[in-house]
């Protein structure tokens, strides 16, 4: 085919980064990932959880935890998703999530939102008093005890639970389960109404 060769052609000066945003060609721009809490109201019906989790995996969004449970309305469930992405990815995740038909609304909760997680920690039953003492330090309580084991319940922020688990390691942790974060906006604001 006729025409000037590639190196003889007019070329633009600009450049975009990998997110498709125009950048100064001299400056290296990378967006650091940050953690965000997405809260979604969804139709409470079979298959919704799989639809949402499949979306995050097929679009390669990095999620730390996903919790789901009923609300006061029998037809509606609420999902709390902890996601870690560079800025455009968080916005994209919100939009993709909103696009799913069973999803009613999506919001990123603000930084100071109330975030709670629950952990059950099963440790050796050899020193029950010491276990109780550590549990007290983290406002936790023993919820099951046998001759060989004690199971403690801890509720709180992720940081608090991380710290508690670290402290329980001295008692030979046998099993742990964590729920992942549940979160609500502080003040009168809700997913359905901005205040």
């Amino acid at each position: 085919m006729p025409g000037p060769a590639p190196d003889e052609r007019m070329r633009p000066k600009g450049r975009r980064n990998m997110q498709g945003i125009r950048v100064d060609p001299e400056a290296e721009v990378t967006h650091e990932p940050r953690q965000a809490v997405l809260s979604a109201l969804v139709k409470h019906r079979p298959g919704v959880l799989s639809e949402v989790s499949a979306l995050f995996s097929r679009r390669q969004f990095n999620i730390e935890s996903l919790t789901v449970g009923p609300t006061v309305d029998d037809d509606t469930a609420r999902m709390t998703i902890l996601i870690e992405e560079p800025e455009p990815g968080i916005d994209q995740a919100k939009k993709q999530l909103r696009k799913l038909v069973p999803v009613i609304s999506v919001r990123e909760l603000e930084g100071e939102a109330v975030r709670r997680e629950l952990a059950l920690v099963k440790v050796s039953g050899e020193k029950p008093d010491d276990v109780n003492a550590v549990a007290d330090m983290y406002d936790g309580q023993a919820v099951d005890a046998s001759t060989d084991s004690v199971t403690v319940e801890i509720t709180g922020s992720k940081q608090k639970i991380d710290a508690a688990i670290e402290a329980f390691k001295q008692f030979d942790v046998q099993e742990i389960v964590r729920t992942g974060a549940a979160a609500l906006e502080r003040g009168p604001k809700t997913l359905e109404k901005d205040v």
């Binding site: 085919m1 006729p2 025409g3 000037p4 060769a5 590639p6 190196d7 052609r9 007019m10 070329r11 633009p12 000066k13 600009g14 450049r15 975009r16 980064n17 990998m18 997110q19 498709g20 945003i21 125009r22 139709k43 079979p46 298959g47 799989s50 639809e51 499949a54 979306l55 097929r58 455009p88 916005d91 994209q92 939009k95 993709q96 909103r98 696009k99 038909v101 069973p102 999803v103 009613i104």
Partner: protein
């Protein structure tokens, strides 16, 4: 120009409404829902779990086209949806029937084509037991549909179908599926399906925010080097007229994407035809050098953009899309305009303070058109060039001729060397790149537009994948001309092997393929062979004159490759014009 080759169905609707018998089963409710939505054709294949639905179809005025393979059913429905603008409908049974539909559903999803798929399923009590012909159809198709429904009850199955139909058509179009357990369709019900309505959670934006429109219009009017990038969404939104009016009023050069072919007339002086991997040199130069791009109904696919780092890097981007999730997904939108393309074009038309001052830029675009003509050699002593066959055919046919294709080199030549001027005349598989799309797509297209000429360019590899569909075209006496641009290879793979894999032609050469003219005759179609320049016009004319499906087996130069070419991830302006230049960039 008619933007929707729509079949007059309002008359039929009223007629059928007056003589409608009450429904007695879930299956009848399913069919009633399709009738209420205005369905004329269903493409499908029978089977155990879908039998109750077919039994209910027995009493309906809806035409059923029995396909030879379920993949063909989903492609035919897809093409029907592309040409009419209304959802195409396909049926399949459970298990393999449903899995065979999957390719066509995924294809429709990638190209935002309106399709509704209804699949049989084993009776509810057997679901989850690995019953005969059971497969998790909803699970398999959820990621490739707008929504997949599992019908749970005979009383509500009609509503499920109505909603799925409405959803396929609404907003950004796409495929939906309803999985129909046999007990649900066989079960008794007297509940008539509701009118097609989208789910309450589904929002369809119409007009874009006025403030954003104003800012975007000012940016465009200020631009020195403006272009419009018109995507498939322009055609889907029936916005081709609005686009033409806008571009011509403000004198802005227009580039289309591949799915956007036909949204703007390629013979107009403002047209730069289509951009991307094998787009024209002038379209790709304009993409590279524009300072303001009005992009409408496009998702900035990687075959269009090449590497995003070098995609229109000087341009402010005004992105019009009905799907908010497309905004800034691949290319950042400086001016996001979320809304229906036709509405937003009207808003922009009114908001433009003046036409951009772009005489120099238009001259530059014209210079590129002169510098990089879409040219090819036609020495008499060489084997037939595919481009010549496409060009000749294009010249011999009316403007509203519909072109269908498979996927590969032939598809590129059909899009490069045919001149498109009308929307809904280019029917191809873009995003998914489905070899085998062409044969069944032409069937769907012909039934959707019986008064328009339909030609299908295919490759030998692509044609062979769905050739069984010829039996359907023969049975239905469809006047389709298939042209196999036969280079005895999966040519695009071979082109890449030669360009990027040191000529190691692993599994890409097809000297073993059948004689397609004879194969056509065996099916009951007319078969032709084309080997030299001498009888190109004559053969095309004979094939067109034949009243029924015909196949031209065109033996083309096996060494011919597709250019220009922007290598994968490359810079649009740095396209290669020949094999040697691939090494330079």
């Amino acid at each position: 120009m008619s933007e929707r080759a729509s079949v007059p169905k309002e008359a039929e609707e009223t007629e059928s409404e007056t003589e409608q018998e009450p429904v007695t089963t879930g299956a009848q409710s399913v069919i009633r829902a399709l009738e209420n939505a205005g369905t004329d054709y269903v493409f499908g294949v029978q089977g155990g779990a879908i039998m109750p639905v077919y039994d209910a179809l027995y009493d309906s005025d809806i035409n059923h086209v029995t396909m030879a393979h379920e993949q063909g059913a989903s492609h035919a429905a897809d093409a029907y949806g592309v040409v009419t603008g209304d959802p195409g409908v396909c049926f399949a049974t459970s298990g393999p029937g449903a899995t065979n539909l999957v390719t066509g559903i995924a294809d429709a999803n990638m190209d935002s084509d309106p399709v509704i798929a209804l699949t049989g399923q084993v009776p509810t009590e057997f679901v989850g037991n690995d019953a005969f012909q059971e497969t998790d159809t909803v699970g398999i198709t959820q990621p490739i549909t707008k929504e997949s429904y599992f019908a749970a009850d005979s009383d509500t199955v009609g509503d499920d179908v109505s909603e799925a139909f409405a959803l396929a058509d609404a907003g950004r179009q796409g495929p939906t599926l309803v999985d129909l357990p046999k007990d649900v369709t066989q079960g008794e019900t007297e509940v008539e399906p509701g009118r097609p309505e989208t789910p309450e959670t589904y929002e369809v934006p119409e007009e874009a925010d006025d403030g954003n429109v104003q800012e975007a219009a000012e940016a465009l009017a200020e631009a020195d080097r403006p272009v419009i990038l018109s995507g498939g969404g322009v055609i889907k939104a029936n916005a081709s007229n609005a686009l033409r009016e806008f571009a011509m009023e403000y004198d802005i050069p227009v580039i289309t994407t591949m799915p956007g072919i036909g949204s703007f007339p390629e013979d107009h002086e403002l047209s730069l035809e289509w951009a991307g991997m094998h787009g024209t040199g002038y379209a790709n130069m304009a993409i590279s050098n524009t300072d303001c791009m009005l992009a409408i109904g496009t998702r900035f696919d990687d075959r269009l953009t090449g590497g995003v780092d070098s995609f229109a890097p000087d341009a402010e981007v005004i992105h019009v899309d009905i799907d908010p999730a497309e905004i800034s997904k691949n290319v950042y939108a400086d001016y996001p305009l979320i809304g229906d393309a036709r509405e937003v074009l009207r808003q922009l038309f009114d908001a433009m303070p003046r036409a951009p001052d772009a005489d120099e830029w238009r001259d530059q675009c014209q210079t590129w058109k002169d510098e990089y003509p879409m040219d090819y050699d036609t020495p008499d002593d060489e084997p037939l060039k595919p481009q010549y066959v496409v060009e000749q055919f294009s010249e011999m046919t009316p403007d509203d001729t519909i072109v269908c294709t498979g996927v590969g080199q032939h598809q590129m030549w059909a899009s490069q060397f045919w001149e498109y001027t009308e929307p809904r005349t280019w029917v191809s598989s873009h995003g998914l790149g489905t070899m085998g799309y062409g044969v069944p797509a032409a069937i769907g297209a012909k039934l959707a537009a019986p008064d328009q000429e339909v030609v299908c360019f295919d490759g030998d590899g692509s044609f062979l994948m769905t050739v069984q569909g010829l039996s359907v075209a023969v049975r239905e006496q469809l006047d389709i001309t298939y042209v196999v641009l036969n280079n005895e290879a999966v040519g695009m793979v071979r082109q890449w092997q030669d360009g990027f894999y040191e000529g190691r032609r692993m599994a890409s050469e097809y000297p073993w393929i059948p004689q397609f003219d004879k194969l056509a005759e065996a099916f009951g179609a007319r078969g032709f062979t084309l080997e030299s320049y001498e009888n190109v016009e004559e053969t095309i004319q004979e094939a067109r004159d034949y009243d029924g499906p015909s196949v031209i087996d065109a033996h083309i130069d096996p060494g011919e490759n597709v250019f220009p070419m922007v290598p994968s991830g490359g810079d649009n302006g740095q396209f290669a014009l020949n094999e040697d230049q691939l090494d330079m960039i």
